[in-house]
Subunit: 267 residues, 4 copies
Amino acid sequence: MHAAAVGDLVQLVSMRDRKSFLLRIQPDERLETHNGVIQHADLLGQPFGSTVRSHLGADFVLLRPSTAEITRTLKRRSQIIFPKDLGLILLRLSIEPGQEVIEAGTGSGALTVALARAVGADGRVRSYDLRADMQNTACHNLELVGLSERVTLKTRDIADGFDETDAPALFLDVPNPWDYLEQAHRALRSGGFFGALLPTTNQVTTLLTELQRRSFGLTEVVEVLLRNYKTVAARFRPADRMVAHTGYLVFARALQPAQPPSQPVAR
Amino acid sequence: MHAAAVGDLVQLVSMRDRKSFLLRIQPDERLETHNGVIQHADLLGQPFGSTVRSHLGADFVLLRPSTAEITRTLKRRSQIIFPKDLGLILLRLSIEPGQEVIEAGTGSGALTVALARAVGADGRVRSYDLRADMQNTACHNLELVGLSERVTLKTRDIADGFDETDAPALFLDVPNPWDYLEQAHRALRSGGFFGALLPTTNQVTTLLTELQRRSFGLTEVVEVLLRNYKTVAARFRPADRMVAHTGYLVFARALQPAQPPSQPVAR
Amino acid sequence: MHAAAVGDLVQLVSMRDRKSFLLRIQPDERLETHNGVIQHADLLGQPFGSTVRSHLGADFVLLRPSTAEITRTLKRRSQIIFPKDLGLILLRLSIEPGQEVIEAGTGSGALTVALARAVGADGRVRSYDLRADMQNTACHNLELVGLSERVTLKTRDIADGFDETDAPALFLDVPNPWDYLEQAHRALRSGGFFGALLPTTNQVTTLLTELQRRSFGLTEVVEVLLRNYKTVAARFRPADRMVAHTGYLVFARALQPAQPPSQPVAR
Amino acid sequence: MHAAAVGDLVQLVSMRDRKSFLLRIQPDERLETHNGVIQHADLLGQPFGSTVRSHLGADFVLLRPSTAEITRTLKRRSQIIFPKDLGLILLRLSIEPGQEVIEAGTGSGALTVALARAVGADGRVRSYDLRADMQNTACHNLELVGLSERVTLKTRDIADGFDETDAPALFLDVPNPWDYLEQAHRALRSGGFFGALLPTTNQVTTLLTELQRRSFGLTEVVEVLLRNYKTVAARFRPADRMVAHTGYLVFARALQPAQPPSQPVAR
């Protein structure tokens, strides 16, 4: 039986409105919701997937939170990267267990969490941000979800460069990524994966121009549109409204600087 | 310097048309392309991200392939799951390093590869398919990309049930997933992640009805639309055509069967 | 000079928040808005496209309203058909000046207005609805926008059939259009244009089945997604959120009932 | 009975593959298709919506073509504006029967046809294009579909201005509309409707900047995405691929040039 224990990170989802709460179980704590109070102690020994009831009689499902849910529920100081984009970012950057990867800025830590989960206990995320207040929020979030040990937060201006020189992947979630391409190229291993997220087309065109000048190649720009459906079988249809835009995702590979062309290879 | 060595899985991308080739470097082999021949031996010692030239003078970029590229380049016997969907599947199923997860059917192995990369060397994918010919193709693909050791292929009818009983996540890429929900529920740990991909709305409504009857909950149905952009900075615009539909993604959690309601929890 | 006169239907758009007001100019009336009061008399003689100022100093642009704006601003008793769908409906039903076309139900009259504008002063819209309260609202709206003379409202159950037998086009905006296909076929001229708008996939599949049985053909089902952009040149990007779904549009042609096959035609 | 007669513009749609043919019935002509030959004479007296058979035994449905079908079937010398965009253009420009409207360039005449149908026999389309070859194609298309009398083609550089000064609506389908905004403003009546279609974001941002400088206002930029569905009721699903992009639609109103602000209006 898979059951909740002290110290577990769990999610409680209200059956009334699907509102979701993230907590780490501590014997003496209580969760206060708009649908009533739940004592942490009452969760102990309950199997995941079971229903618990608040003091107001509202039912909540007890679950381990998914990576997507965790990022959605983080305390925020800034716009976070949405799950629809996170999935594609991890895949296109080809993040794997054991890797040591880089991101800047840290922001509220949504991508940090997703990267930390993907690289696993043997991997490492180096996360740069100029703003200490942002990193404090991210630090708080990482501790809550138990990922602090996989993340190194660096309160630093990336204009001064990254400490790393052999990263398999690097993601820039900053408004002016074109200003840091030289630094990014030096931080990446040859052939490494570069990504960025930009809200406006003007930013994208500036970045495209600079990527070409800075020995990045195989550039791709994509948008992810996620459409949710209502789950009533007899009236199956899309939700009425959706997120129309978060940003354009730009991906590229760090190439060897163009040199005297490589010697002809085939004979 | 990060350079190609014997036994490496590499990708060569033609600079002319971005056509991509996957190969495992072996000293005496050669790659024949529409743009000329490249000797494997000539790749040895070349840094990733550098350019090699075919005997016809065509340039190719030498790279380590991304998970997305690998799945796109697999030998196919069936429709594969697209990268746009793979990213979200991994995120929503909350796949992590070290997990032992289940999928059926194996198909050509695109999701198998993505899962195997995400669970890492310490994890495991159990992949069921009724058809031996499919699994032979998947087996070939897994060997090519070096992931065989992380995958157990089971040529089996899942109507007879899964061998596992504590899987954190299970994905059904079969035309009639509603017929295997009891088996899936038994294979999943309590609270575990369930997913399915279905091309038609009729299939989705059938599955929605059955999920509710079979103690699955928190069901979500989503569609991912990926829009590619042309990367010319001075004429930035979406590509002319796009994939309009692969399938509807259905996600749910394995709940505890409804019982005499759990005792009130709060005091 | 194109200037506002007594009796004109005009639109005032607040420059602060783009909120739009529809009015018919009458010498002694006044418009009260959240941004202040404007006397109708002060609009007289003002050229369209000019700016008028409320007693609170807020600027409004004086315009003739577009068909799209009119339908958006109508008094509503029900969900209206959106401009994104109206444009395609008019085009796919091939509505032309002078035609006499049919719709049911009337609803709040958004499609009624669009049809009445498209058929012009020489055309006619026959609009059926079972509910008198709906038609009262539509009647009010049509009078406001000056289109009453082009529309015949019929408070009638279309199960009893339509009065017309030679309509070039007929649109059903009802929850169960499949129940009225025989009536619709009799009302349409041979080859005539049929359309319907349905929110759920279940409704669409039911309609598709019945259309085939009832001698309709060349059926098409489409969805229109409209994406608005923010119009700041230096930060060009899509709006954050959008309407994800209004309904599926179904179009078909009224065919001759299958008979002993037509004699071979070519020699 | 609504039946085909000499001189009618008709559409024949192959039941095998839905391929569509446009023709004007002339007693001695014949239509040659990939599915066999049909004599025009054999269409005479056939009711619309009936099926005719080619000499190879292939069935075709006989119909009056819709505006959408006509524009799709035109002989082309250039990219045409798609029906998905035409519908919204007509609605947003608020085209009505009897109007005299302007477009440039003529191109192959798809928008010309849609405008000519919408303004009706009492209206008029003034269509400018620098290239005589384009206008020859458009002229041919307009004659085929019987709309020549509603259209005035002007082989002229619009840099030299439009002849009209009181147009209710004007649409620019040219690569550099920002160069003609002064001319467009002079051609439009005060408050008139302006529209343009542009493939790239760079063009849109240039136009946005100039629209503001040239006394256009209430600017909107939208994209229309049309998703087709397969019409098999038991397997209802979107088509596999779709048109991802034709262009961004820009709409604005011709405002009075900013002057000493209008006197305060309310008391």
